[in-house]
Symmetry: C2
Subunit: 160 residues, 2 copies
């Protein structure tokens, strides 16, 4: 049995998912997923504390062995990407402090793991995630689907 924490890094919205797979299972099971939001009314450091606390709480509850987190690339919004990197650092830090192994999933890896095609669109990835796992929620946000895709990527790379 392997349990993976998938994280789509962010500081306004953080996609979080816990996936599990037993050797006999055909599919990965989504044990938990959420889009964790922090208010823009808070100072940035308060938002970092909330993010770290949430990650700690979920690790304590679900005891995953691996963190799978998306790699980060520079985009046009310099300020946002720096804050995302800072939040990403906190997630990796709390996970490593709790003894999790860290797997970094690049966008092409995520696309190949979910759709088989390294240049798939975001919509294609989202669509495949809904086929690859059973989602019991009526509405799963894009951030949650991203977190699930990121966790699935770690499972796929472990098989290889």
């Amino acid at each position: 049995m392997t349990r993976i924490l998938g994280i789509d890094p962010g500081f306004e919205r953080l996609g979080i998912a816990i996936l599990e797979k037993n050797k006999s299972d055909k599919k990965e099971t989504v044990l938990f997923s959420e889009c964790f939001k922090t208010s823009a009314k808070l100072e940035f450091n308060e938002r970092l504390v909330l993010i770290g606390d949430e990650v700690k709480k979920i690790i304590k509850k679900y005891k995953p062995e691996i963190l799978s987190i998306e790699t980060l690339f520079l985009n046009t919004n310099q300020k946002t990407v720096m804050h995302v990197a800072e939040a990403r650092g906190v997630v990796i830090y709390e996970s490593a402090c709790s003894g999790l192994k860290i797997f970094e999933a690049s966008p092409p890896q995520i696309k190949i793991a979910t759709t088989g095609y390294g240049k798939a669109s975001k919509e294609q990835v989202m669509k495949m995630v809904k086929i690859l796992v059973d989602l019991d929620k009526n509405k799963t946000s894009d951030d949650e689907l991203d977190a699930i895709a990121i966790a699935l990527t770690a499972f796929a790379c472990m098989r290889g």
Copy 2:
């Protein structure tokens, strides 16, 4: 009495300083400074854990009320700056978790606070730091001098 933790963020080398000032003091006193290094042989997440542990240890020992940390701008080395941002996130996170207030010092603020001139060179800042505070060490590294300058900036901005 105010005690400030100054941090020059980095993951290979982290400049750390603790400065104190009483109302009756003319000068700030450097209680502690170091250049904390992490080995490139370690995985990045292990280095983040060491950085967080060191910051926690120093906060516990010296009990500063404020973290003063340099703001970060993009430079040519995208990969390095992302890792510095991740380490910076961990420093802010651990400081906020310990109840410190966070002060972010921009390069022009640091230059004005130490030299009175917003376009001063790095060498001019280093030179002025050595005049502004008494350093009992024979050799204080540039990273430590930076951390001291960053702490001095928070003191200067609090006066204003």
